[in-house]
């Protein structure tokens, strides 16, 4: 389900429950004839008809909190605590280490190449899927989801099989002096493959609900394809596009499996941040490993923050739309 429809659903649910809640607050619990014999404590709020018993509610909330603590809060704190165990100075030293810096640079470079590529691809794919009728559209749609279903290691293997020295295209590439596998291009190819669904998957449902009418209107009004794209389509999808780009970027920076297969782990040359963390960890340089890992953690926090901000924006827009419909 798309974020948008989820937000709509939330709105739809807000509608009927709000008055109920308001009523519950306004009317203090009056002792009803049933309450005295029914055993409800005097002064307790009457239960809404769709409400579960308190025990069930507490159990569910408790379980969810416990789960979050065990699988999100605890690991996150471990990363931060371990990273700063030796003090800020040591943490900083691990970050400005030459190999660490080159890993950061490589990660930024890979993201800087693969994210725009995938933004472009996602936009083109979403455009073609939502704006045209043709055979094999469903196949294309399933193919876009492929990287979600395939283990990243397999994606890395595919890259090696295609571009490796013994691969299909490898010999030709080697003969012409191109090095793909165990070099930056291979890492970019693997990252692009793993992250290409993010933008398309974000845009397709959004563009589907929006429909093509505005673009048709622009066409009839005499706009060229480029004018329609830049003046109508892009301004309309910009928030969805940005959202997809943020997710795509987070994945591109954090990708491990596929990159691990194609990189060759050459220190200072083909190590990304996540690979560098692994190497440090395997060398028992725990403090340095966690210090570098904390960088990825910061990326995650920034992603989350940006994602939340975009969602608030979208929800506000939806609420405004809903209000308009009431008026």
């Amino acid at each position: 389900m798309s974020r948008l429809s989820r937000a709509t659903e939330a709105l739809a649910l807000d509608g009927p429950t709000e008055p109920l809640l308001a009523r519950a607050k306004r009317e203090p619990a009056r002792p009803t004839p049933g309450a005295t014999t029914g055993g409800a404590r005097p002064g307790s709020r009457p239960r809404r008809p769709d409400e579960d018993p308190p025990a069930v509610r507490w159990a569910l909330v408790g379980f969810a909190l416990l789960f979050l603590a065990a699988f999100v809060v605890l690991p996150a704190s471990v990363v931060l605590v371990e990273a700063l165990r030796g003090g800020v100075a040591l943490w900083w030293k691990a970050l400005v280490d030459a190999d660490a810096l080159s890993a950061v640079k490589l990660t930024l470079l890979v993201a800087a190449i693969s994210v725009p590529l995938n933004a472009l691809f996602g936009l083109a794919a979403a455009w073609s899927i939502t704006r045209f009728r043709y055979r094999g559209k469903h196949v294309l749609l399933s193919l876009i989801d492929l990287p979600f279903g395939v283990s990243p290691v397999i994606s890395g293997m595919i890259t090696v099989l295609l571009f490796g020295a013994q691969g299909w295209l490898g010999p030709w590439l080697v003969a012409h002096g191109y090095k793909v596998v165990f070099a930056v291009p291979g890492i970019v190819v693997a990252t692009v493959f793993v992250t290409f669904p993010f933008v398309a998957r974000e845009l397709i449902p959004f563009m589907q609900t929006q429909g093509a009418e505005e673009e048709e209107a622009a066409l009839v009004l005499g706009a060229s394809g480029w004018q329609i794209l830049t003046r109508v389509t892009l301004p309309n999808v910009k928030w969805s596009l940005l959202y997809g780009v943020i997710l795509c970027n987070a994945r591109a920076m954090g990708e491990f499996g596929a990159v691990s297969v194609v990189s060759g782990h050459i220190r200072g040359v083909t190590n990304t941040i996540s690979l560098h963390v692994e190497i440090l960890y395997n060398e028992y340089a725990f403090q340095a490993a966690f210090a570098v890992a904390s960088l990825l953690f910061l990326v995650a926090i920034a992603t989350l923050g940006a994602k939340q901000a975009l969602e608030w924006r979208q929800r506000a827009a939806l609420r405004a739309a809903a209000q308009r419909n009431v008026l």
Binding site: E214, E216, A217, A223, S224, Q227, P235, N236
Partner: protein, 359 residues
Amino acid sequence: MSISIRGLSKAFDGHPVLNDVTLEIPEGELVALLGPSGCGKTTLLRIIAGLEMPDAGEVLHGGEDVSARSARERNVGLVFQHYALFRHMTVEENVAFALRVRRRPRAEVSARVAELLRLVQLDGHRTRYPHQLSGGQRQRVALARALATEPRILLLDEPFGALDARVRQELRRWLRRLHDELHVTSVFVTHDQEEAFEVSDRVVLMNAGRIEQVGSPAQVFEEPASPFVMRFLGAVNVFHGRVDGDRAYVNDLEFAAPGAAGRAPAHVYVRPHELDVHRAAAPGSFAARVERLVPLGGAVRVELSAPTYGRGAVEAELDLRKSEALGLAPGDRVWLSPRRVRVFTPTPEELDSLTASEL
């Protein structure tokens, strides 16, 4: 600019939507494409606009074949049912869009936009965004936007469909006045008979991808060319009978049936307001029982049963004065005489699928 449509056919995924449609729309006329949903009227409009390509046939604008031209090159104004305003642009920017993509000089654009906004009475809203406007206002912006390049053809796809009844009424009259001022050849799609009759010079009735009849509102209402037209334009009573030569018979009632020939089963259609109600037997009448009286403001609908003339209810519509004079009450025995009938000889399938009792 006149519009000619010749032998147009279109299918979506193997389902025919338009079937050999031919239509002439003279310059300056306001024509309504009227029909039930799924009859192909919107597809026809979109083909005229160039948003759909026909499988066969051609479209001429002003005698010139535009079949090969894209929507972009046809310079028609198109108004969508759900406005399709650019939501991130102000009213002014929306109206200016067509001029800006044509890179017209700034001064010309702003003068034209001001003129158009005056025309649609929205001069005070130029910096608003579409979501800050009411439905009626949005549709007027859409119209102003469509007229910006002075198109010689204006197409409207259910332009009032998404509006509430009162606004719809106002906008209809306004559209008619606007058309009388501008005289731009206009085609609008609607499924609402009243709307089509009120606004248009001519009505094109469509059904299942074909044109059933083309004519003025009075023509198609008074002389429906087919049972479909008869039924689509208002309530109708259907009696099963037969034709013999140029006479039609239902039980012992006899009607003139000009144009019919030979002997065949026939359907005799009578509109409720063309069915007279009498307190006593009159020549050419049949007995019925009053079941229910439904006041409709200026008129009263009388629902009757006449078992020998079909199992279903028979409807008559009387004006208030007549109904008061008769003083009808449920259970009363009355006599009905059709003032005017239309006789159609149905095809065998129609006879099977369609019985008076089902109506």
